[in-house]
């Protein structure tokens, strides 16, 4: 026997913490941590939907597996983009102007 209000509260808090992390961070890699927390909150909700009542086609187990897979693919591509930006502009600061824009008056440009 379990009260279903507990999973709902934890999932809502995880999503709120993730939103806070996404908004507060300036480091692009640490922004992904907030995204992961939001996704884990959604995953907890999906699992909760099948914890008490029978879920058709076992969707409460299969859909979280798909969410984990898609999150892995998303993180791989996002980190590749972040590394490319770091190589291009030397910074992963999200508040900085776009990595190409600050080069016009930068010292490394020949011209």
């Amino acid at each position: 026997m379990i009260h279903l209000v507990g999973p709902y509260v934890v999932a809502a808090l995880l999503v709120g913490i993730g939103v806070m992390g996404v908004l507060a961070r300036r480091n692009a890699v640490l922004l992904l941590i907030g995204v992961e927390l939001i996704l884990s909150g959604a995953l907890l909700l999906l699992v909760t939907s099948g914890a008490a009542s029978p879920s058709r086609w076992e969707a409460s187990s299969v859909l979280p597996l798909f969410v984990i897979t898609i999150a892995a693919a998303e993180v791989v591509v996002a980190l590749a983009v972040i590394l490319a930006v770091f190589r291009h502009g030397g910074s992963i600061d999200l508040d900085a102007p776009t990595p190409g824009a600050d080069e016009a008056d930068g010292p490394g440009v020949d011209g």
Binding site: Y8, V19, M20, P64, L65, A80, P99
Partner: protein, 216 residues
């Protein structure tokens, strides 16, 4: 309060506390490590809810793969060991982010708690999810989404390689397009298409000096 409620409360507390520390700590490597704690808490919650396979996959893929990848990315982007002073945010921004997060959590709570019958709702019997039934459905009903996800992973692999190994093309473009550069507007156009650091990685630290790598 049943015993499952107590177990879930413990795991949920670990998850929420770990997540809160992961988004508020100033040390970048600690943030990734607190994410491990938060995800272990979530895996414990899923285990208490009776989905063992999801909990195991969560530990294996999220903690085993994704967090290690985030740590690698932190190292490759030269994350400082101590507090991250270059990416420090002002206090008003932290407060604003906390308010937005609290508002999101309150909105979700207002929508979800009535679904469970409020805080004084009745306890329900936990359903046992058998891994065999999950496997049967995964390779029966869900087999085409499963195959599509395989293609998605392959596409992500190729895309990550293509995005992160774009240097050879860029260096060639610098050699070809950088020579007839005029000091006028053509220079600014070229500078946008040109990587700033074409030299060895040690040049990246010398922000204030002319970059010898661009002269090639």
């Amino acid at each position: 309060m049943t015993s499952l409620d107590l177990a879930f409360a413990a795991c949920g507390l670990v998850a929420v506390a770990g997540g809160l520390l992961a988004v508020t700590t100033r040390q970048v490597v600690h943030a990734a490590l607190w994410l491990v704690v938060a995800l272990l808490g979530v895996a414990g919650c899923v285990l208490v809810l009776g989905h063992e396979l999801v909990a195991l996959v969560l530990v294996l893929i999220y903690i085993g793969a994704i967090v290690v990848l985030v740590l690698f990315a932190l190292m490759l982007t030269r994350a400082p060991i101590g507090p991250d002073r270059t990416h420090a945010v002002p206090a008003w921004r932290r407060v604003g982010a906390a308010l937005a997060g609290a508002a999101t959590a309150a909105l979700l709570l207002a929508a979800l708690v009535p679904l469970a019958g409020g805080f004084g709702g009745a306890a329900v019997a936990r359903r046992d999810t058998s891994t065999q039934a999950v496997a049967t459905e995964l390779f029966g009903t869900w087999v085409w989404p499963f195959e599509a996800l395989s293609v998605l992973l392959l596409a992500a692999l190729v895309a990550a390689l293509a995005v992160s190994r774009g240097r050879h093309n860029q260096v060639e473009r610098v050699d070809g397009a950088g020579q007839p550069g005029q000091p006028g507007q053509a220079g600014t156009v070229d500078s946008r298409a040109m990587p700033r650091f074409a030299g060895p990685p040690a040049d990246r630290d010398a922000r204030g000096e002319p970059n010898p790598g661009d002269a090639q």
